[in-house]
Amino acid sequence: MKKTPNQKAWFMVLPVLLLVAFSAIIPLMTVVNYSVQDTFGNNEFFWVGLEWFEEILHSERIHDALGRQALFTLIILSIEIPLGIFVALHMPKKNGLWSSLCLVLVALPLLIPWNVVGTIWQIFGRIDIGLLGYTLDKMGFDYNYTQDSFAAWATIIIMDVWHWTSLVVLLSYAGLKSIPDAYYQAAKIDQASRWSIFRYIELPKMKGVLLIAVLLRFMDSFMIYTEPFVVTGGGPGNATTFLSIDLVKMAIGQFDLGPAAAFSLIYFLVILLISWVFYTIMVHSDKEAG
């Protein structure tokens, strides 16, 4: 659609601008302020320049957390995206009771408060009272997510797959539903195989929504806090301490305001940079599609 130039449209955007400025810019400025100062208490601050940034960039602890975070995000993206597409291809296409039921049940995990997701899996994975833990234990696996870091990782990854694959399913399903029947009929006349229908009709049509899915899953998994906090509390040791958990520990637990602020800014910039790349690709593919 062609848009009309109209500078007065700014007045319509103004409320959003003021509100978001209040809840984003003021706090962000506080963070910037802390990141270049040190304090001995009593509200006396002095300028330290970029010292905290250097400390954070060279900190072993942050590197480890970043490594774990990147690995986690990579693993869950490579499970959730293909699995989500696969399930979406099998969603019922005709409207009816069965398809409504599928939609509601598939969407349900997304609406559960994140700490409850944590609680659910905390209970489900325990070897004394949880179905999963109990079964694995009885089958002879050495499974205990509070002590074994491999088990802790496995639990958190399965939890995230359980929690968020539905998002990918729903997005892909929306993409699939927008494909007109004529495309499939044409493919049938050409005697296209199931694979080439997927590769040349369904996948290109889903490209837009899949990009949104990857973008959302990337952002949210990179900021994950609540679920691992409830299930493992970042342990055993530091095995599941992801970036947000580390940050909250540093800022609110130890009250190291300077390093925490510098850490925050770097963290935010990393997310911003990668998201910007996705966003640019998305806008371009939007334009190509017209």
Partner: protein, 267 residues
């Protein structure tokens, strides 16, 4: 044959999704003694005591009331500022519009962990700490950009000729917006409201940081109880089950638009 295979995949996937939830419900209907002493797939002595604890103790049911209060406040605030903005983005070009749009989105990308401490200080200094409105405002940080994004997607689908015809027929902007435009994008507004509700409802970190007693959210109540008084598994499970119910109800109402909504109106 093909239908059967699809149905099988769906049944397996849904089974995978429902099993942990079933287990939570199972726990919530058992006594603590039974939870810890015997392992069974269903409650042997069915009890509603855990739910009674929640419905009679103000520190528990108060949590639900507080959560619902700030979630509704947040939804109303987010939608009322996002509607005109989304209209502007979908209809007009103006100086800096693309940058502004991306800047709004960056707030959706901001880790709440980054904002927890500054929010705490900001709202304490203006005397809003431990009020519903503080949490509602804090949640606008990620809900307003999302609402703008979703609504813009839906509004783009409405042809501009409709606006022009309405103006020719003598409608003023506000009458046009209320009487003609809003009904046209009603499903978009519903979906945006659903998302504001959802993200405000599921969030823990900010709501826990910004409240202590008077406006304490149910999520905060659950995590604090878990750490304070040992673990009362039955009550914790019951509280969890009760937090799922509002979500399930909301999904049911928007089920036909949900897929398009998750695609942010961009299909």
């Amino acid at each position: 044959m093909k239908f059967n295979k699809s149905a099988l995949v769906m049944i397996l996937y849904i089974l995978f999704l429902m099993l942990p939830i079933y287990w939570l419900i199972n726990m919530s209907l058992k006594t603590n003694q039974e939870i810890l002493s015997t392992f069974s797939l269903w409650p042997n002595q069915l009890t509603l005591d855990n739910y009674m604890v929640i419905f009679t103790d103000p520190s528990w049911y108060g949590g639900y009331i507080n959560s619902i209060t700030y979630v509704i406040m947040n939804t109303v605030i987010s939608l009322s500022v996002a509607l005109p903005a989304a209209y502007a983005f979908s209809r007009y070009t103006f100086m800096g519009d693309k940058h502004l749009f991306f800047w709004l989105l960056t707030n959706r990308m901001a880790p709440p962990a980054v904002f927890a401490l500054p929010f705490f200080q900001l709202y304490s200094s203006v005397g809003l700490f431990d009020t519903h409105i503080a949490v509602a405002l804090a949640h606008t940080l990620f809900n307003v950009p999302l609402a703008v994004w979703i609504l813009e997607g839906f509004m783009r689908g409405v042809p501009k000729e409709i606006d022009e015809t309405a103006y020719i027929d003598g409608y003023g902007f506000f009458t046009f917006f209320r009487k003609i435009f809003m009904p046209l994008i009603a499903s978009g507004i519903g979906v945006a409201a659903f998302f504001c509700f959802m993200f405000s409802w599921v969030e823990l970190l900010l709501s826990r940081t910004l409240t202590s007693v008077d406006a304490k959210s149910i999520a905060a109540t659950m995590t604090r109880t878990a750490s304070a008084s040992g673990l009362d598994w039955g009550v914790l499970a019951a509280a969890g089950v009760l937090t799922i119910i509002p979500g399930a109800l909301v999904i049911y109402f928007v089920r036909n638009h949900i897929a398009k909504g998750f695609a942010l109106g961009r299909v």
